[in-house]
Amino acid sequence: MSRNRVIPGFGLSLGYATLYTSLIVFIPLAALAASGISLGAETFWAVVSHPQAVASYTLSFGASLVAALINLIFGLLVAWVLVRYTFPGKRIADALVDLPFALPTAVAGIALTALYGRNGWFGQHLESWGFKVAYAPAGIVVALTFIGLPFVVRTVQPVLEGLERELEEAAASLGANRWQTFRRVLLPALVPALLTGFALSFARAVGEYGSVVFISGNMPYRTEITPLLIYSKLEQYDYAGASALGMMMLVFSFVLLLAINGLQYWSLRRRGGG
């Protein structure tokens, strides 16, 4: 244990980290669990397995996954453009990426609904072609994509900046075509950052409430997200039922995030080995 560390006092810093995460994360979550458990196993199960709840999980997690996938692809593209090209207004474009972070989500929801609604700029054309976005599951995906975009861009950007151009030139001089260079040289280096961005974007989307309730239409079994169900339980002063649904969301999210982390670990090992 005599190795030099930048921050002195292993015991002190570990103690501090433990205390801090306990106060900020574990204790509130434990309180949530305690409130949920107070229902008893049977009622708990009845609440979380109600068809309306199940329909809402499918929607919440499904829409979040789709939105995170869209962000994965287009976020990479945006990051690539921002890192590899110079163009007028680049700094402005770069700053714009963070806007979804700063905007109150209700404002985002109302703005998107105005755009995609029946009489909105996009909505009137889309509806005449038979696509319903606002007040349909597609609208939820649009809102979740909007709020999740910065995560992928901001995690991939620094890694991409660290990848030297010489790497691509070397690959090209060794006879790799563009696709091979991307697939075999760039992508493996980017995968961990992409997965982190994906996980963050997904996690953010699962818990989102403010923007979604405006664009979703909140129809039971069709466009009702789990956070809205939790809210409607609170309106009945059913704190325990709300906690039960909250716990289910936590469990699902935890398992999915764990899986993404596992994927990341696997890809790092594979790269390290190769």
């Binding site: 109600h50 329909a55 009489n119 909140n218 809205l228 609170l234 309106e235 002063y237 059913d238």
Partner: protein
């Protein structure tokens, strides 16, 4: 030496007595559509209190969705008075905190509701679909905008008004259930709150009719300019009684019981009643009501107590999980 001590004591004395000298303040926790009413009312009450007692008062206001505001009070927001949308919310405060007696609603006249309102239809200019009563809303092709009663207090009034109409017209609970099911099948969007539903109808141009509180409908018409929308008053509607009460334990703790009581009593005076009427709430004082009769057409108003046996019952039967509303929607 003596001199210094005198100063120290004097300074201490001043410091200690200053809270007593400072102006007292009360906190009124209310819901969204009363913002304009209480802005005007507080100004008037502060002036009135100063004239009566010489004390300068501070009245703080908090607005938000009624359910959320109630939960804030239950979870410890120290309101001296609450002025909320439904008796059910104040019942919840009594039940969960014990800060007010269970029979709080008997303490002030008219079920503790100084002003009332009702549910009316807001339709587009010229009433193109010719909607005159609840029956017209379930005709094929009519789109009705109303928020989700599971998340919005205002939406519960809309629902109960429709139910009361159907029950009176068709005579049975089953017929009322059919009517309400048909009505909600005409609703394309269930916004989470009343203001959201107004936005959907007014801004997004969705729907043929918005079910709204009379005060909100009048406000919408006057703010958006006459001519774009019209109000249709149905033959039967519900008497909405937004109740008020002092939160006894909080007011005692703050030493503001006298102010809080006077504040609510002032709502019942002719001045308070006029302010309510000017902000589109129906006054309960018959004199003032006569004065503003043009603004508020006569409607056959049914009370929640007579038709549903009170809010607790209505909430349990219709809106709690597994209630009538939940059965309207079936899994696909």
């Amino acid at each position: 030496m003596k001199f210094t001590r005198f100063f120290v004591v004097a300074a201490l004395g001043l410091a200690l007595s200053s809270p007593a000298l400072a102006d007292r303040e009360i906190l009124n926790v209310s819901y969204d559509p009363t913002r304009e009413l209480y802005e005007a009312f507080n100004k008037d009450f502060i002036k009135h209190w100063q004239e009566e007692t010489g004390e300068t008062l501070v009245v703080r206001q908090s607005h938000g969705g009624a359910g959320k505001q109630t939960r804030a009070v239950i979870d410890g927001l120290e309101a001296d008075v609450v002025t909320l949308a439904l008796a059910y919310d104040i019942d919840a405060i009594a039940e969960k905190t014990g800060k007010i007696p269970a029979d709080w609603q008997k303490r002030l006249p008219n079920n503790s509701a100084p002003y009332t309102s009702t549910i009316v239809f807001l339709v587009r200019k010229g009433n193109p679909k010719g909607l005159t009563d609840w029956d017209d809303l379930v005709k094929p092709g009519i789109e009705v905008i109303t928020p989700n009663p599971k998340t919005s207090g205002g939406a519960r009034w809309n629902y109960l008004a429709a139910w009361a109409y159907a029950k009176q017209k068709y005579g049975s609970e089953d017929a009322a259930r059919d009517f309400i099911t048909k009505l909600y099948q005409q609703v394309p969007v269930l916004d989470s709150g009343a203001r959201g539903a107004t936005t959907t109808f007014v801004q997004r141009g969705i729907g043929d009719v918005l079910l709204a509180w009379e005060n909100e409908a009048l406000l919408a018409i006057n703010e958006l300019g006459k001519g774009e929308f019209e109000i249709v008053v149905p033959s039967v509607s519900i008497l909405a009684e937004p109740p008020v009460t002092v939160i006894d334990k909080n007011a005692e703790k703050h030493g503001t019981t006298d102010v809080a009581k006077a504040y609510l009593a002032y709502l019942y005076t002719p001045v308070g009643q006029k302010l309510a009427a000017e902000n589109y709430y129906r006054p309960t004082d018959p004199e003032v009501a006569r004065e503003y009769a043009d603004l508020f057409p006569e409607v056959n108003l049914i009370t929640v107590d007579s038709a549903f046996g009170g809010w607790r019952e209505a909430q349990k039967t219709h809106f709690n999980d597994g209630g009538v509303f939940d059965h309207i929607y079936q899994p696909r």
